[in-house]
Amino acid sequence: MTAPLLEVRDLTKRYVSGGLLQGQKKTVYAVNGVSFDLLPGETLGVVGESGSGKSTVGRTILRLVPATGGAVRFGGADVFAATGAALKALRRRMQIIFQDPFSSLNPRMTAGAAVAEGIEIHRLLPRREIRARVAALFLEVGLDPVYIPRYPHECSGGQRQRIGIARALAVDPSFIVCDEPVSALDVSVQAQVLNLLADLQRRRGLAFLFIAHDLAVVRQLAHRIAVMYFGRIVELGTTEAVIGRPLHPYTRALLSAVPEPDPVRQRARIVLAGEPPKPTAPPPGCPFASRCFHPRRDARCTTELPPLRPIDGSVVACHHADEWPDGSTDSSLTMLR
């Protein structure tokens, strides 16, 4: 068996908010014990709604924000313990693509300079070879090298996202966190960028942590999917299993809420009541209990936090995940008409 490229164990992130003029200090529980492995060349999709902690997971792994607890190993090296040259070497191999390339690119830096920056910082090439390398990267991401001297504001959203991808590729990473990489793009451009990411993965053997709120988009690239709710992974399994045979009630609700672009094949809609608990006040039991519609939900759900446990090849954090009245068959794709 292949050794995992990335091992995340019990990752935790808490913020303290408030204080000075903003009322009482409160602890925000952003990520509450997230663990998973990622294989070389694999895509793990992370889905969840805003506040689920999915972006924070990506950022803490890269040490863009410090974790409160837990451990991350990348290629066997302890990411949180690394310093100096070892940390710099790790950072070269772990890159990120952001949602909005307009705010992640320096407006005063040309597209070419943005892509060349990483090569210069890591001294990967002699100065005279950088130009040709940048041009090759532009071609690799489907950008005409005429854009090299252009500034971000002179480029379209899709072109800016390609610049962001070329910038990440410039240092030849083996792992890229893709944080909502297509959600700011128009539908017609979104497909271009998703196809590009798939091509790059195949060609370069890249591993992706693909973070998105849109399950249909995640499905397009992910080999496995982790569903996050309230800072925890509540279900993790192969893409086929999570989409075709969802076991956590939240996964079922999320699937049923994805707008289906076909008026004939509308899914039975599970419309959740209420909203997630406040991140400053984690409930004692299952964080989904306040919105749950599982027919077998009971008092235990509000008192006892369900741990992730293996069911049918997935792992699920629900006391009643194996007690759906419809067995393991899928309910979310039932036809209405």
């Binding site: 709604e49 017609s188 497909a191 249909a216 707008p259 672009p261 076909d262 809609r269």
Partner: protein
Amino acid sequence: MTELLDVRDLRIGFPLAGGRTVFPVDGVNLQVGRGETVALVGESGCGKSLTSLALLRLVPPPGSIMQGSRILLDGTDVMALGAEALRQVRGRRIGMVFQDPMTSLNPVLTVGAQVREAVTAHRRLKSSEAKARAIALLGEAEIPDPAGRYDSYPHELSGGLRQRALIAIALAGEPDLLIADEPTTALDVTVQAQVLELLDRLRATRGMAVLLITHDLGIAAGRADRVAVMYAGQIVEEAPTARLFTAPGHPYTRALFRSIPRLDSAVERLAQIPGGVPSAEAWPGGCRFHPRCSEVLARCAAEVPPVVDEGGGQSARCWLPAEGRR
């Protein structure tokens, strides 16, 4: 049948620095019947939001609605209205809900005060009556504990509840038409489903028409009776929803469908539309979609295609059906 809203040849111009004028909305025809939900679908920059603002004559300066544009609301010529009559249209006949409830609500006023303001803008009521009416509207927008939320400030509410508060404000004038411009784009999918259900119920109980502006074909498919697809300032296809999705008539509509990732059918590669959405300064000549079209004909680059009625309420602005070659 007389339509509630009848828009003909709507053209919106913006002067450029060099004395040139661009037309981000360029000849839009759109009808909405009473109690009907019509979705106006398109990508960013296609002119769909500007179109909806024009219905209230709220096109931001220096833009203006060009001569020859016609907007009829229940037979009334909106283009000819004076300031006071226009005030009766805005908020009263036509309600509006915008994408981002945080920027549409006043952060220093309570939610209740803002709903009450909308109530008294169109009707003279005693203070206690206005408050009772505002609470009733918050309840109608399905805000839990409406009397308790009346005194909440917008920042104390979640995104979903803020959007419901905006809907309550839009309902205050008892409008015949509700324009909802990307009403759920800023919301999570599960909350989005709640808000769309609410709009659907309100339409049914109040007999209100809804013009739903969205970039999401999935939302249009689930909620609209008819869909109009916009591209580069024009409506390129219009059809009853079922028909649009089963037999799309315009190559742009077909290409959009193929490029959307689906939950229930895995494809190795998504079909992509080459290039990007053009800006109003550079609408291509002939058919505006022709540089990106996979079904392009020789004449598409040179000649503006006619709007072809394909029967069954479907029409497409394309040379293919015009030439009977589809």
